[in-house]
Amino acid sequence: MKRYDLIIVGAGPAGLSAAIEAAKKGLHVVVFDENLRPGGQLFKQIHKFFGSKEHQAKVRGFNIGKKLLAEATQLGVEVQLNATVTGMYLDKEVIVKKGDEIFHFKGDAIIVATGASENSVPFKGWTLPGVIGAGAAQTMMNLHGIKPGKKILMLGSGNVGLVVSFQLLQAGCDVVAIVDAAPHIGGYGVHAAKVARCGVPFYLSHTIQSVSGDEKVEKVVIGAVDSSFTLIPETEKTFTVDTICVAVGLSPMSQLFKMAGCKMDDNPKKGGQVPVCNEWGETSIKGIFAAGDVAGIEEASSAMIEGKMAGVCASEYLGYCSSAEQAKDLENMAKDLDSLRQGMFAIKNRGKKIETTMEGIPISTNLLKKGFLSDADIKRFSPTKKIAGVHPVIECTQNIPCNPCQDACVRHCIKIGKDITALPVVDTTKTCMGCGLCVAACSGQAIFLVNEDFSSDYALITLPYEFLPLPQKGEKGKATTRSGEILCDAEVISVKTSKAYDHTALLTMKVPLAMSEKARFFKKVKSYA
């Protein structure tokens, strides 16, 4: 039986990051992953990530996955795919199923980074074909190129629900509504705004009453709930759908730790049962570590840093680096991780009633309830004086750790500062050159270029556009408001693509001047010619 320095279970962001760190220190590392492709959830993530440059901000998830895999392979890490770790036994032994046989391997140390699985919520009709997890829908679309359905209702307004809803729209599906029993949208406001401006309505404080259909999903009835989540009679709304996507949270897949005898903690804040670990991922069994969602549901950026930490600790445990080196590495990584765990959506701030941003501006409750900023919100967050010529308008109103917009502008028009959770501010002393790099760089698609001096009657709005087929120059359509309502006529002046924009097209449309503060999306008009 082969014995490795380090066995890593799971080739997702945490697992690969751990492998890279350990390989850098000279360990012989093998990574087992049950999937056909490595990268874990990264390969399904077609949107741009948040955070800072160090956190791979503005890079699309699957590209991060490619980068990690390349780096790991280059460092000599053995990544074995289609290799399912079926059990973890005494003496740090694992059984791996490969093809039609099993193999026994032992590790001097083992890092388990097996991620999480989707939660379920039962409702009448949930066993009908057509009820699927949002993650499953994402796999179908982004890995296999299959539309999960035609008319879809999304249950759950956390980041998964919001991001997948947008991807469903990109795939050409019709998202009829996003429903959540909570009173507020759980995910980032900018993710919600992306779908709201496409006309998807949000129903907060609502839940699914029943799903019905002959042999598959055909109809869904939702109803309002009160503060104790009890259905309020006579508030039913019916939608014709063929698919219900369920995005109600994730649970760590921590079974391997449990069977090996690690102390476990059933912690709702972490999403479920996790191994008891210290802050570096060491479990109660010496030499067994946890990293990523399996140690507590968070996100890919934090998973990568946790993976690095576990990789460093495994290296020190096995004598491949000194305690001093380990301490230095961990200190930097901890700082890095901490910078991600700030802001409005940080775990430490969950449950707290947040009423203003760090800067003291009252937050938008409309964004939390309906998914878009109201006109009053815009006024509150924007500078009052008119800016001449083309200039960026940033509709980013929640403190989250993110700053690619600041780095994107060569003219330094956009300022965030050292604390990356600060809201970006447009420096009116600098002159915007209208290059649009900030529009493309913003992972939340919350930056627009507005030029109210285009002509006496018209303004130009440049917006990020990620739908195919791209509109053509000269195309006439409609501009919509932030809530997706049709506002006015709009003509496409240009559609710019560039490698630097990384598949975010910049669509510039001409709208009546009076609409310049409201027009934020372009809707194609069906032509019957």
């Binding site: 059990g87 036994y89 005494l90 032994e93 059984i95 099993i102 026994h104 069977m259 090996a260 005898g261």
Partner: protein, 376 residues
């Protein structure tokens, strides 16, 4: 803690403890059952292969198990109000070599002498009974009145029925000491508090040994690991209970359709765990190979779960079911050595009768606790 003193304290919430408690309650006695783990039936009762058999047993326990199959098992569903999934479709103990057949003949002869309906059958007859056997099987012992049942629902069924009769169950109450007061059993001391009763039944599987030690009684059992596995649901194939001449694997197809098998690697006396019984990394693969040698048809069946348990193997491999004279009021029912499920209900009934009336329907003399003698 209960204010009133129960008539009997039963230590151990497995098949033996629960069935004893049930039949005691039916006799009108008040019973308190103390289970050390957090779950009723968490020991061997939930980990075995489900055999309800007479064949292949030591003659000393044959009368008891035969009595159970005649008097208890057939009506257990209606007795408990639970589906114990009892199938009385026979037991095949398979042999592949001449040596195997010799072992089986030996067991068969001993059983026939006790009046059991068991006989040897040849390769053709065994295939008539079970057409799925591999070509390697050359014969078997066949006992038509043997069978299998669901150990989980049976154990929990006795718990449910006993509880409905007023038996008081407490889990998470680990007994650490037994004490006499003025020469008779009186105190049952747990990690938490002290209970008192004039009659105590120790039915705690392997844990009985440590508890009995505290009152000067030696229960000569050692721990042996068994490992089990279960498949996903399969098309209905056969209904007999299966075993082999060397008892290296055994199992059945459950009512649900899944196959449950138990087996061993041969390294059992040297196995350890991590605090709870844990499958070894070589157990399940070994059992699979064993099964496939007898049933190639199951080679594509998917295993969904493996588990392990500790057998409390007694020095002479049969149970101790007895009144302990030197500790008046103490009764012991443990050491079932890996074949306690099928005989459990009968043991429970007979122990209840012994406690309540002083006599049991089946003579339990061969299972006395002071039977262990040196070899010379």
């Amino acid at each position: 803690m209960k204010e009133t003193k129960p008539d009997v304290i039963v230590i151990g919430g497995g098949i033996v403890g629960n069935s004893s408690a049930y039949y005691l309650a039916k006799r009108g006695l008040s019973v308190l059952v103390l289970e050390g783990s957090d779950f009723i039936g968490n020991g061997g009762s939930s980990r075995n292969g489900g055999g309800v058999r007479q064949s292949g047993r030591d003659p000393r326990e044959l009368p008891l198990v035969m009595w159970g199959i005649q008097n208890i098992w057939p009506t257990l569903n209606s007795e408990l109000g639970v589906d114990v999934e009892y199938y009385q479709k026979g037991n095949l103990r398979l042999g592949k070599t001449a040596q195997h057949l010799k072992i089986l003949q030996n067991l068969t002869d001993k059983a026939v002498a006790c009046g059991l309906d068991v006989r040897m059958i040849d390769r053709d007859e065994v295939r008539k009974i079970n057409p799925y056997l591999s070509d390697e099987v050359i014969g078997a012992s066949w006992c038509p009145t043997d069978g299998h049942a669901n150990p989980l629902t049976t154990t929990l069924g006795y718990y449910k029925a006993a509880r409905a009769l007023g038996v008081h169950f407490i889990t998470g109450e680990k007994v650490v000491e037994l004490k006499k007061v003025k020469g008779k059993i009186h105190q049952v001391i747990t990690e938490n508090t002290t209970y008192t009763a004039d009659c105590v039944l120790l039915a705690a599987g392997y844990e009985s040994r440590a508890i009995a030690k505290t009152i000067g009684i030696n229960i000569p059992v050692r721990k042996l690991k068994i490992e089990c596995l279960v498949t996903e649901i399969q098309p209905r194939m056969f209904e007999q209970m299966l075993g082999t001449a060397e008892a290296d694997f055994y199992g059945h197809q459950s009512k649900h359709g899944s196959f449950v098998f138990g087996g061993s690697t041969g390294l059992e006396p040297y196995e350890t765990d991590n605090g709870t019984p844990i499958s070894s990394s070589i157990g399940a693969p070994c059992i699979c190979r064993g099964i496939m040698k007898y049933f190639p048809a199951l080679s594509r069946a998917k295993i969904v779960r493996t588990w392990a348990g500790w057998v409390d193997e007694c020095a002479d491999k049969v149970a101790i079911i007895d009144k302990i004279d030197e500790v008046p009021g103490l009764f012991v029912s443990c050491g079932f050595s890996g074949h306690g499920f099928g005989i459990g209900p009968a043991a429970g009934y007979n122990m209840a009768e012994l406690i309540a009336t002083g006599e049991s329907p089946v003579d339990l003399t061969p299972l006395r606790y002071n039977r262990f003698k040196a070899k010379i």
